[in-house]
């Protein structure tokens, strides 16, 4: 079913919207959640929570890209769950590895998330498409390095090297823009 038709169902408060959403995007959201939470049951709950959030958001929201809209909800919900589990010394997966990598880029306390997002968008636009995609796969979707390497037909070390250099360039950009 077309995305615009699904959004229309949300606006009509038809529960078919949830069925169609789950059918079309359930797998996609589940991958995002499982990459962060590493637990099938938690990931499934996350997907269900995503649909509930989407139901509450539309209307008034009318996202231009439904897939990314739902993906962002799932990612944030999964990160929230991860934080809660982590604080209670539970959880697993490769999240620690990803966060260790991002720790190389210290975030300024006095800067809002919105400003940082603008800068990161600019950074991704300045990078070759393949590099930007690898960055997003790692730090948005939390794919492990092996999965990314397999997708591109290269060794894990090459992916790690690309990510390492990109983190360096992002850090330089944020410094030059006065974020640090």
């Amino acid at each position: 079913m077309d995305d615009s038709r699904i959004i229309e169902l949300f606006w009509q408060r038809s529960e078919d919207a949830l069925t169609e959403c789950k059918r079309k995007f359930g797998g996609y959201c589940r991958i995002i959640a499982k990459n962060i939470l590493y637990n099938a049951e938690d990931a499934d709950e996350c997907v269900n929570d995503t649909l509930l959030r989407a139901w509450k958001a539309m209307p008034p929201e009318k996202p231009s890209r439904l897939k990314a809209f739902l993906g962002k909800i799932t990612r944030n919900l999964a990160l929230d769950r991860y934080e809660a589990a982590h604080s209670q010394k539970r959880g697993g997966g490769s999240m620690e590895a990803v966060l260790e990598e991002l720790a190389e880029i210290p975030a300024p306390e006095a800067t809002g998330v919105g400003e940082l997002v603008q800068s990161i968008n600019g950074f991704l636009r300045s990078e070759p498409t393949e590099n930007a995609d690898i960055f997003v796969k790692r730090y948005w979707y939390f794919h492990n390095v092996n999965e990314i390497a397999d997708e591109y037909g290269c060794k894990a070390n090459k992916v790690a090297s690309i990510l390492f250099r990109m983190r360096g360039r992002l850090k330089q950009k944020l410094e030059s823009e006065g974020f640090m």
């Binding site: 890209r65 975030a107 997002v117 968008n121």
Partner: protein
């Protein structure tokens, strides 16, 4: 959570980046096998058809059969490879093919979810390609590929040479490959003409073409067609000059179409072997009843668990775990040893088979051919491996934080551990193995 702000900020990036990098979902991702290191090629679920070469477009005009009247030609005799082409049909007609110039080949990287495969029996081959022994006197090797739910994906047939191996042209290119499938087969040739000219062979539309590699005087001759709902793709390699390639292709296409559509029902309902491909947490990996006990317990503290995978198919049964620390990593793969592993067992006294200090980069130039399979993948018995052996495996010039790169295997009574490490010291690897040696 550490560095919450950056991770959260990345979450708000523009939708175009998110959708462009989106993962594939469901059938394509589920149970696909991507064991990329230390695995026999046949065990991988991704099946590569052709390598991609980009050659600038040549003339726009299609190449016609050089015998020229475009209607009929008499069947040529010996095809130059020890076999003969089939006799013409009752009306003495061998339908000709119009060849389209191909600009490039596309890599047909096919992901078959839960891939398994079987070789065809003689009776199955006869049903799929009748009378083929007349065309391939050396015989063929035919494999039926299935997805994990038992559905036939395709049949791939390779011509064999007199010694029983897959026949090759110019030492490298597959001589003749035929693929057959229900419905359709992914296109892997890009023709210069966006609407390639088709030829009619006994009422069947055939798209035929030629791709000149521009080296070794080698070309790929290619034909695709449908007989009913059965799709066929033929590719064969031959000289880029002369008529032999087009004549072979013409004969093969005519023969296959003459014999009618393949009966693929003989390949339905296969026995599905044990298959498994799942990601595990670190705890689950350590708890694996078959291989968990072979994982190291004293991993250096700066390394973080990255991923673990449990995989079983017809060729491989193993558990792999990856730890990383920035650019440094070590990959620990435990599996049941195969006959190939036993062939590469090396004694510590046989330095020439494993000591990397004896060889310079690039290894394919410095390592003698007869030693290559050992140097590239030595297997040491667990009760014989020493710290000095591990130190000798460090590849010079590839420096991580603590040391270079090293890869080797350790055999524990039917279980093999493949270790691939960057930036881990030999002493650290020795410590991790030392604990496991009590398992001997």
């Amino acid at each position: 959570m550490k560095n919450n702000k950056i991770a959260r900020s990345i979450g708000g990036i523009d939708n175009e980046f998110i959708e462009r990098a989106a993962p594939r979902t469901k059938a394509v991702r589920k149970r696909t096998a991507w064991i990329k290191w230390g695995m026999p090629a046949a065990a991988c679920a991704a099946v590569y058809m052709f390598f991609m070469l980009a050659i600038p477009g040549l003339l726009n005009n299609p190449i016609t059969n050089p015998n020229g009247d475009g209607q009929t030609v008499t069947a040529p005799g010996n095809n130059g490879h020890g076999g003969t082409l089939p006799e013409p049909s009752q009306n003495n007609t061998m339908y000709t093919l119009t060849l389209n110039k191909a600009d490039s080949l596309m890599p047909s990287r096919i992901l078959i979810p839960g891939h398994f495969w079987y070789s065809l029996t003689e009776s199955q081959l006869e049903a799929v390609l009748p009378n083929l022994s007349e065309i391939f006197p050396g015989g063929v090797e035919a494999t039926a590929n299935y997805s994990g739910d038992g559905l036939l994906f395709d049949v791939v047939i390779h011509e064999l040479s007199a010694d029983g191996n897959i026949a090759v042209y110019n030492q490298f290119y597959g001589l003749t490959v035929i693929r057959i499938a229900r419905g359709s087969i992914a296109e892997d040739v890009i023709y210069n003409n966006p609407e390639p000219v088709t030829s009619e062979v006994r009422g069947v539309d055939v798209t035929a073409g030629m791709f000149d590699y521009g080296q070794d005087n080698t070309a790929m001759y290619h034909a695709s067609f449908m007989i009913g709902d059965i799709a066929y793709k033929i590719s064969l390699h031959d000289s880029a000059t002369g008529e032999r390639g087009i004549n072979r292709l013409t004969g093969l296409v005519n023969a296959i179409i003459s014999n009618g559509a393949a009966d693929l029902s003989v390949l339905d309902n296969p026995v599905i072997p044990e298959l498994r491909n799942e990601r595990l947490s670190l705890a689950e990996a350590y708890s694996d009843p078959d291989f968990g006990v072979y994982l190291p317990n004293n991993v250096p503290s700066r390394f973080n668990f990255e991923s673990a995978q449990r995989f079983i198919n017809q060729d491989y049964n193993g558990l792999s775990v990856l730890w990383t620390d920035g650019l440094n990593s070590f990959d620990w793969r435990v599996s049941k040893a195969t006959s190939d592993d036993f062939k590469r067992i090396v004694s510590p006294a046989e330095h020439e088979k494993y000591d990397m200090s004896l060889y310079s980069i690039p290894l394919f130039e410095s390592v003698p051919e007869e030693l290559r399979e050992y140097v590239h993948g030595p297997v040491f018995r667990a009760d014989e491996i020493t710290l000095e052996v591990i130190q000798a495996r460090v590849i010079q010039g590839r420096q991580g934080r603590d040391g270079g790169q090293m890869y080797f295997s350790v055999l524990f009574d039917g279980i093999i551990i493949n270790i691939n490490a960057v930036g881990v010291s030999p002493e650290q690897i020795w410590d991790m193995l030392g604990e496991l040696k009590s398992l001997i």
